[in-house]
Structure formats: structure tokens, C-alpha cells
């Protein structure tokens, strides 16, 4: 694309990243979570794809590495569920809530201010699902854009 589009994408890309990561990290306090923040970060990567073209991005980012990140997010999510089976009582049990350790503070009932150290395993699950959604959506967009840009494939 033209220089104007590339400059605008260069300016907007870090802000989109920061906003998406903020939505992922504060998923247990404000509206948002892993899926929504992952979609925001993936849309920032799609902006990069629009500005620089898919062959350039495909040369710099390996899709196998993105697929590895996607699998790592899924493995982390299931591992947290199995840890709930070991330390708590059931699969997906929230064994960190109310324990007083990491993410273990219980908030007061009713309207409270945002305390980041609450939520039990929910921030960790948000992070795992966020990594999964970022890598999954970006590899889908990248492979489809690259396949529609080249001439010969079967």
C-alpha cells in the first residue's frame, strides 16, 4: 500500500496491542476477557497484513510458530483444569480463590473498586485463552490472505 497507510498502521499498531493486552489482563474485573482481547490483538495484526501485504508478513512470521502458540494456549488451559482436579475437588475447580496466595483475595460483596489480586485461576485461564485466540485467529487470517494473493496452488 501507499506510504500514508503504512505510517498510519505503524502508529496505530502498538496502541492496538496495548489495548488488547489490557482487555485480556483485566478480564476478571472489567468487561472483556480472553476471547475479546485476543480478537482485538488479532485485528491489529490484520491491520499489519493490510498495510504491508501478506507476502511480506508471511516471510517474517512463520505460521508453524503461530500454530505452536495456539497449541500451547490449549495445553495451558487444560493443564489449569487438571490442576483443579488435583488440588481442588473437581475438574476446572477454582482452587486459588480465597486461598490468600496468588490471585487469592476475596473482594467484599457489592460494588467494589478494582483489585487485581482476585479471581483465583480465572486470570490464568484468561491469559491462556488469550494466547490461543490471538495465534488461532491470526494464523487463519494470514494463511487465507496469502493463499488468495498467490496465483498457483491446488
Amino acid at each position: 500500500m501507499t506510504k500514508i497507510v503504512k505510517t498510519t498502521a505503524n502508529i496505530l499498531f502498538p496502541f492496538t496491542m496495548i489495548f488488547g493486552l489490557y482487555v485480556i489482563a483485566h478480564g476478571h474485573l472489567t468487561p472483556g476477557g480472553g476471547f475479546q482481547g485476543g480478537a482485538i490483538v488479532a485485528s491489529g495484526c490484520a491491520l499489519l497484513l493490510v498495510a504491508y501485504g501478506s507476502p511480506w508478513v508471511f516471510d517474517h512470521i512463520k505460521d508453524k510458530r503461530l500454530a505452536t502458540f495456539e497449541s500451547l494456549g490449549a495445553i495451558g488451559f487444560i493443564t489449569i483444569g487438571l490442576l483443579g482436579l488435583i488440588f481442588g475437588a473437581v475438574f476446572f475447580g477454582n482452587f486459588l480463590a480465597g486461598s490468600g496466595s496468588l490471585f487469592g483475595t476475596t473482594p467484599a460483596t457489592g460494588s467494589t473498586l478494582a483489585d487485581f489480586n482476585t479471581g483465583g485461576v480465572l486470570p490464568l485461564m484468561n491469559f491462556a485463552v488469550g494466547v490461543k485466540v490471538i495465534a488461532g485467529l491470526f494464523v487463519i487470517i494470514l494463511v487465507m490472505a496469502y493463499a488468495s494473493s498467490i496465483k498457483e496452488w491446488s
Binding site: 476477557g33 480463590a97 480465597g98 479471581g119 483465583g120 480465572l122 485463552v129 488461532g136 493463499a147
Partner: protein
């Protein structure tokens, strides 16, 4: 060809009439009927899961198996797209 169009139009109009009559059997907008489960979740989400966000506590804690199946669907969709375009990636 003609017969197919007539049969499609007939089935489509039957579905339309079914939908239009069935919406008046629902509860009115803004007054949900059975709210015991949701009231329990809203009341207990802060001292059971320690989370301020009720929707996140439902997604990841009360109904975690739904999210597990959803993650499986996303994984299989990514695997399917990568499998369909495996010739273009070298």
C-alpha cells in the same frame, strides 16, 4: 426445476408461519421467567470465585466445560484451515 422451486417456497412459508406464531408463546421482553440460577450466580460470584465480573465467572468457572468444547472447536477450525491450505505453505 419448477417443482423444486414450488416445494422450497412451500417449506419456507411453513417455517415462516411457525416462527411468527411461536414468538407470542415466549415471555415478554424484559421480564424473564425462571431466574433462580442466574440470581444465585449474581449473588455468590464474589465470595465463591472471587471475581467481580459475573460473565467471566460463568464462562471459566461455572460452565468451564462449555469453554473447553469451544477451545476444541477453535483448535479444529485452525487445523482444518491449515490442512486445506497445506500446499501453499513451504
Amino acid at each position: 426445476m419448477e417443482k423444486r422451486t414450488v416445494a422450497g417456497a412451500l417449506a419456507f412459508s411453513i417455517v415462516v408461519v411457525f416462527f411468527l406464531f411461536s414468538i407470542f408463546l415466549l415471555h415478554p421482553f424484559g421480564k424473564p421467567g425462571q431466574v433462580q440460577m442466574d440470581d444465585y450466580i449474581i449473588t455468590h460470584t464474589q465470595n465463591e470465585t472471587g471475581t467481580n465480573n459475573g460473565v467471566t465467572s460463568v464462562v471459566f468457572d461455572y460452565r468451564g466445560f462449555d469453554t473447553l468444547g469451544e477451545a476444541t472447536i477453535l483448535f479444529s477450525a485452525v487445523a482444518g484451515v491449515l490442512l486445506l491450505f497445506r500446499r501453499v505453505r513451504h
